[in-house]
Symmetry: C2
Subunit: 459 residues, 2 copies
């Protein structure tokens, strides 16, 4: 708000309007959020407003206004000096989801700039910053100017939230966390999009998870949030596409911070589990397409495979690790990553096929081991984690290992073991069709893309 | 909550449960309200919970639990030493509603004890305490022991809220006031009933107003609140009846604190406007019936008329005024009440019939004169006010007085005059049926009463 503008709003009126189901104007939202960020409106009024938003919802215009206000509450990066298109990827969070660590160097190797600002894990889901910090020395707290220098030097950089970016979101999120007002697609959308758009990007690929390990268990909720974020991004002049992807079992086989770095390196070597590899290629295909280096997503995927095969993607990762003060030897020698002192096997009690793996429980088992956080202030043990040997559809005999637990405290390992045993459902007959990895793609650009691909097929 | 009970609840869980439409247990409500009253839960969590209650509602059991918790957050009066039944009346507030000042001495004259704890006016509605304080010297701030002595001496006593009664309500109401969470029938019910039940009464007559001057403009909302309060009172073992009464035009002819005392004395003399007289008799009939001194409401009304005709009701009022340090000479000589310095006439600009009087506007006109409060901290001028000469259905010729304004500041009088002119709707033809004064009666007792009256008719 222009400081010269006389104050014409009252918090109580904005609260009442939303309570009664009215649509707030851009000015009303801007007034409330900015006055709150400045400390001119108390917490108790804003928490009442947040609850009214949770229960009454917001229109698309209100969601865009909230995103815009939060984005402009702080500094937005100006990366216009970089000639490459700036594209980021954001995931709504899952178990074993380490795609960011693959995608940033992979897209950078293709000539797309990836200025990635990420978060930490909370609850049963992991966080990109925690995974990066499993690499000894890796510094996620770069200043904005150093962030820019790394980005210029290698095409990608990965850091944590800075104090300058979207301070309104930080203050609002802290209040939402303690007032039961986190669970609103409108507030989630504004929180994610304000921070991502503050990165100075041209395009954004969203990975919206659905299934037992996702925040949005139901696909309809994931689609709703995805559509909201795509439209909000487009209203703000950005290219945004959202992939609804499966999180009904963990992604890949490794869960736990250092273990996930190992699996990232495997993927960048052209190895690793097929589901993780496919999802990385799909997301990379979109990043390369939106980043303007490939005409189609299919071409983007093929290009990504080549960059993996040639070792260029792994070289880029090694370079970024070096530039951000991490030990690059960990890339070629995983034993240099933090190692848990002990392992414990989880074996199958029956013969049959894996019908399902309760994904949130697996994530919780990792938290119990010390690999995640129950509260924001908890510290994380990078060495502990779980390696899954069986996933949905796999045959298993009695006594065969389902998973290996990497642990530093036996009491925790025993609790995790019980949870893992409970999370595997083994049935006599093999299940029918498996859930697809990519449920659907949302965004205006998808249509353009299909047109291009079809005309390409005809040629 | 028993202080020895280990704390097994978390505010965030109670908030989430209500947000998601769940029913809270008595223990959960008790935990939240008591911990908030003690200062162990911050405002911002409770305001989020309050907004969830406004938008999700409460079951009858939750409403009763909230009422019970608020009632027991402070001291409840023990009036069991008084042999008479204790009966109070509560009105949801209106314009010109001075029935409390008539009813307390009238019911007391019939042998019912009336321990009345009232509030001040806010917004367009007046308040009983402000009216009483228009009587020079009248003290509404008696200690609980003096309140009891006045009650024992004359059968009625009228004071303001004390610090001991329902402190949880006081703290919650202050928060509701600034967070847009006043307008919930469940919260209104718990606030009213907790304070009334803390008076140590046996029975309660509720006067729930509906129409343009009421908080509940729509009759269905008034009925909903009335049913909620009746059921809540009955769950707590009290006899409660609610009359839905008309507030589509001011009650009686006088609005303003000293003026309303004048009209109270008129009614107690057997004079005064018919609508006010009828409503007082109806409410008194119910108080006498529930107070056990009359077998039927009809008998209670007849008994009340006799107590007015004999002067006993007025004597009781004079005695209460004396016992509460007020100047009793004001009863017989209204000139001893505060007098406004000037009067201004509001005349009709056309000939016809009064089709409607916008009741909230008349109340607001009185606030503008200084006779009410826009904010709780405003002081009130007892002398100013409005006398209506024409009410709905009355014939009026051009230039004939509609109302007289009693004022101390001309600029305010001119604004009030304009509002009054706008509030009168004059039409050429006389309107059809008038709105009834009593719309309906709600409460289990009504059924018993009808049975009694019918069997009485048969005899």
């Amino acid at each position: 708000m222009n400081p010269a503008t006389p104050q014409t709003f009252r918090a109580i009126d904005v609260i009442r309007k939303k309570r009664d189901g009215g649509e707030l104007s851009h000015d009303e939202i801007e007034y409330l959020v900015n006055a709150y960020t400045r400390g001119d409106i108390p917490d108790y009024q804003v928490s009442a407003w947040l609850m009214a938003v949770v229960l009454r919802g917001m229109t698309r215009a209100e969601t865009a206004a909230l995103t815009d206000t939060m984005l402009h509450s702080g500094e937005a990066l100006d990366l216009s000096s970089l000639s490459a298109k700036k594209v980021d990827k954001h995931s709504t969070g899952g178990v074993g989801d380490k795609t960011s660590l693959v995608l940033a160097p992979l897209a950078a190797a293709a000539g797309v700039a990836v200025p990635m600002i990420s978060g930490r894990g909370l609850g049963h889901t992991g966080g990109t910053l925690d995974k990066l910090e499993a690499i000894p020395g890796f510094n996620v707290n770069l200043s904005v100017s150093r962030f820019r220098r790394v980005l210029e030097a290698c095409g990608c950089a990965m850091i944590g939230q800075t104090a300058e970016i979207a301070p309104a979101d930080r203050k609002l999120y802290a209040l939402r966390d303690v007032t039961g007002t986190v669970e609103s697609p409108y507030l989630i959308c504004a929180s994610i999009m304000s921070k991502k758009l503050a990165e100075g990007i041209d395009a954004l690929v969203l990975d919206v998870k659905t299934g037992s390990g996702a925040f949005m268990k139901k696909e309809e909720d994931a689609v709703f949030l995805a559509e909201l974020m795509v439209e909000t991004g487009e209203r703000m002049g950005k290219q945004v596409v959202a992939l609804i992807t499966d999180m009904d079992q963990p992604l890949g086989c490794m869960i736990g911070n250092a273990l996930e770095v190992v699996e990232v390196v495997e993927i960048l070597r052209g190895e690793g589990p097929e589901d993780l590899r496919q999802l990385c290629l799909e997301l990379a295909g979109w990043m390369l397409h939106l980043g303007g280096v490939c005409d189609t997503v299919a071409e983007g995927k093929r290009r990504s495979e080549k960059l993996i095969a040639s070792g260029e993607a792994l070289d880029k990762f090694r370079k970024m690790v070096e530039l951000q003060e991490g030990d690059p030897r960990t890339i070629d020698d995983p034993k240099k990553l933090p190692q848990a002192r002990n392992t414990m096997m989880v074996s199958s009690a029956r013969q049959g096929y894996v019908a399902s793996v309760q994904c949130e429980q697996v994530g919780t088992a990792c938290v119990i081991l010390g690999g995640g956080r129950e509260r924001k202030e908890d510290s994380v043990d990078p060495a502990v984690g779980i390696v899954l040997h069986k996933k949905v559809g796999d045959a298993v005999s009695i006594g065969e290992p389902l998973a290996t637990i990497y642990y530093n405290a036996e009491e925790r390992a025993l609790r995790a073991k019980q949870l893992l045993e409970e999370s595997y459902e083994i049935t006599g007959a093999q299940a029918g069709e498996k859930r697809p990895l990519i449920h659907r793609v949302i965004g205006q650009r998808v249509i353009d893309q299909r047109v291009i691909e079809k005309s390409g097929e005809r040629n």
